[in-house]
């Protein structure tokens, strides 16, 4: 009996420690350890991190309770124990089972649902609010096997014009400003993933998708592809550089000057941009990937060229 008591105490202590550990991982752990999320460089990433860590606490607690329950049953109620004859279908039993399930549901799932609903509506999918922000930086992303093209509007503020800045696997943004991305794809579905910013969004041919983020730290971060997109999916990597606003401005101006010189109207393949989609616009741009409705004919020509080239 004594050993059982000791076992109970040990298991109880261990579960308490584990459960609180889930809540205690409050600070991002540097990427030298495998026991944490990667560094959070986003102004809004803490919402995701908090929800994940809070849920860790609940999940560990529930899992430990389940394991201890099973272990005790196996040890205590072994073949020497006389089994109860109990169908567990009395009103009392059913009320307890329903009650426990309801409590777990409202606390654990309720917490997830409540916070996620707030986070999604106020932040992650609230593109309308960001569109109104005068500091917002707008970038068009065209994904294709196996690279990311990025397009900045340039000084005229209009996309798909002569002064656009177009980069390959190199996205630069200013720290502290919201960055709006519109994503399309040329060939297959890709997914734009910023692990240090806790977000991702698919880029699919035939449609323009949206995402946004705001960097809180300067530095360089990985951009990954999370949708299987063919042989070199694993190499579809780009770099996100978060710069001080002045450095960003200088870079953009320099790039824009260079691009204006290099612009070639006839290079259809390079002029893949589209007119920026407003929040109320239909995001469906079928009829040519990454091509706006105005350029519908152009899209068909590209498609015809591509078909002819095959």
């Amino acid at each position: 009996m004594k050993s059982l008591h000791r076992l109970l105490t040990a298991v109880g202590t261990a579960s308490a420690v584990l459960a609180t550990a889930g809540f205690a991982f409050a600070d991002p752990i540097p990427e030298t350890t495998i026991w944490g999320l990667p560094r959070d460089a986003s102004a809004e990433g803490h919402r995701v991190d908090w929800l994940i860590k809070t849920t860790n606490g609940f999940v560990i607690l529930l899992f430990v309770v389940m394991c201890v329950w099973m272990a005790l049953a196996v040890v205590k109620h072994n073949k020497d124990h006389k089994a109860d004859y109990d169908h567990g279908d009395s009103k009392h039993h059913i009320a307890i089972a329903m009650g426990v399930s309801a409590v777990i549901f409202f606390v654990v799932d309720g917490n997830l649902w409540f916070n996620s609903t707030i986070d999604v509506n106020s932040t992650f999918w609230n593109h309308q609010a960001v569109e109104k922000d005068p500091n917002a930086v707008r970038i068009e992303i065209n994904a294709h096997q196996w690279a990311w093209d990025a397009r900045y509007a340039g000084p005229d503020g209009k996309f798909n014009t002569k002064d656009d800045v177009v980069t390959l696997n190199d996205v630069r943004v200013p720290v502290g400003s919201p960055v709006l991305l519109q994503l399309a794809a040329t060939d297959v579905i890709h997914s734009f993933y910023l692990p240090n910013f806790r977000i991702k969004q698919d880029a699919a041919p035939g449609m323009v998708n949206r995402m946004w983020f705001k960097a809180k730290d300067t530095g360089e971060f990985d951009i990954g592809c999370t949708q299987h997109c063919g042989v070199h999916h694993y190499k579809m990597k780009a770099k996100l550089t978060v710069l001080e606003p002045s450095a960003y401005k200088a870079w953009l101006e320099e790039m824009s000057a260079q691009k204006a010189q290099a612009y070639d109207e006839k290079d259809r393949g390079a002029n893949w941009g589209w007119e920026w989609k407003q929040p109320h616009d239909n995001i469906d741009s079928r009829g040519g990937a990454a091509v706006s409705e105005a350029d519908h004919d152009h899209g068909d020509k590209v498609a015809a060229q591509n078909r002819g080239a095959q």
């Binding site: 099973m70 073949k79 109860d84 089972a97 997830l112 986070d119 590209v302 498609a303």
Partner: protein, 599 residues
Amino acid sequence: MSDRVMTKADIEAAEHLQHAHVEPKDFISRYIFSIDHKYIGKQFLWAGLLFLLFGGLLAMLIRWQWAFPAQPVPVVGKSLFPQSGGAITPPAYNTLFTMHGLIMVFFAITPLMIGAFGNYTIPLLIGARDMAFPKLNMYSFWTFALSQCLVIASFFVELGSAAAGWTTYPPLSTNVGTPGNGQSLVVLALFVTGVASIMGAVNYITTVIRFRAPGMTWFRMPATVWGLWLTSILNLLFVPVLGSAGILLLFDRHFGTQFFVTGAAGGIGDPILFQHLFWIFGHPEVYILILPVWGFLIDFMSFFARKPAYWYKGSVYAMIAVSVLSAVVYGHHMFVSGMSPLLGQAFMLLTLVISVPAEILFLNWLHTMWKGSIRLTVPMLFALGTVFVFGLGGLTGIYLGTISTDLYLHDTMWVVGHFHLTMASAAFLGSFGALYFWFPKMYGRMTNETLGKVHFWFSVIGVTAVFCGQLLAGYNGQQRRLYDPFQYTYIQHLRDLNKYTSYFAFALGLGQLSFVVNFFYSIFAGKKADKNPWDVGTLEWTECESPPVYHNFDKVPIVLRGPHEYNNPDVLAKTGRDWVGQSEQLPGEEHGLDAIAAE
């Protein structure tokens, strides 16, 4: 549900409906094109185990690649990948993970759990002499065998087998991304295996509705039958959706249609439409693969804790609730596809609601064990292991059903770890538990208990370590399906994690040898099994020999009670046993036959 006394008409109707087939004497109709549900079950068992081995070996190669990217595979590398000096190439790797997924889901778990145990157990457990449509059952197996042949053939065509991921998303799965005929053969194989599943489903559903023995009311059915029956309903409803998606995809690939094709390659199709079709099927599919296991667990917990199943009706209602909900949650697979935010939030709420019936099931399993008299037999160990891994898998799923946490975890290794704990680990541990449980009935011999326990510990520790390793990699942000994950800076530090996860995977793979040895040894030289080695009360153990005769029951049994009557004080007093057969007439008990005799 009524406990009404049987009438003569009931019994005559049952005997008439379930005429006994004459056992065929010729080899072909007995052993090849058999219409006997028990033999077809065994055919599915062998076909499933063979492809389980196949899919498992593919997994070993994937794990090798993640531990030692692009290094030559020892022993088999030179013959499998001769052009690259034995190293796995990126295209080969894409085929490996694509075919590992498809083979395991459609050609290993499905035949094992639904084909083998569905066929073998349903008629025996409900007191039927065979399936409602024995010939359809035979066609179902041979259609399935054809689909396996198509899968094997796909490896031998130019450009190799499918490589677009098990989800087969277009445009990658159209000629734009995977031009080889291997991809077409595999999509065709999915269609054909779907036809086999539908034939099986029609059969199981009809058999359970029409062929229950007199007195076998819905809630006297073992939970195993409930699980398999609900699975069959989901199969019947949702496999056709996958079939339609597959046919449209084949049209796009070969007949110039553009249902899913758009982008620079031309076309005005919609690739997202395929995702809807795939997941309308795909989410019910994960419950298709787990409902039978839930049924096994409810029964095994009761059988081996020697206690009635706790709130049996609650468990059954929970399984029904999950089956219904499974149809309306699929959108959580598409949170980052560009889905309408309103729709996304509806899917999030519906997904989280599934927690409620799942909690009821867990509580009932745990309560059934509590205050029992637990026998740690090999099937019970596997059942306990299944609850353990399914608990882990279920709890790690709620992060993916929630939009904001899914934005980070979507398509990372977290997803891979989560669904391998649920639909892979729980499904396989559950199926192995079922195999150890019904093996004596199937082959008339006992399996070796020590080897069974070795197999259990290798399996449960193996799957836990491997898939928790994957969860951890995903928590760190590692994407799934990367040929070489260490291209990325932010997961450089996961090299050791991936390596150790692979070591556990290799141990898990090697540990399965204990099963192979046990299986073959026991079939030929195992200890002869008694009629009822587990002392349980369901019909296959109390009314049938081990193995049963061709027509199962000389007389269709008359069922008097539920499947979970253990340590019933009345039975103890009358018989001295802690169990009682479902059709066993206790002294002083009436089942209506006396009344009939008097007529």
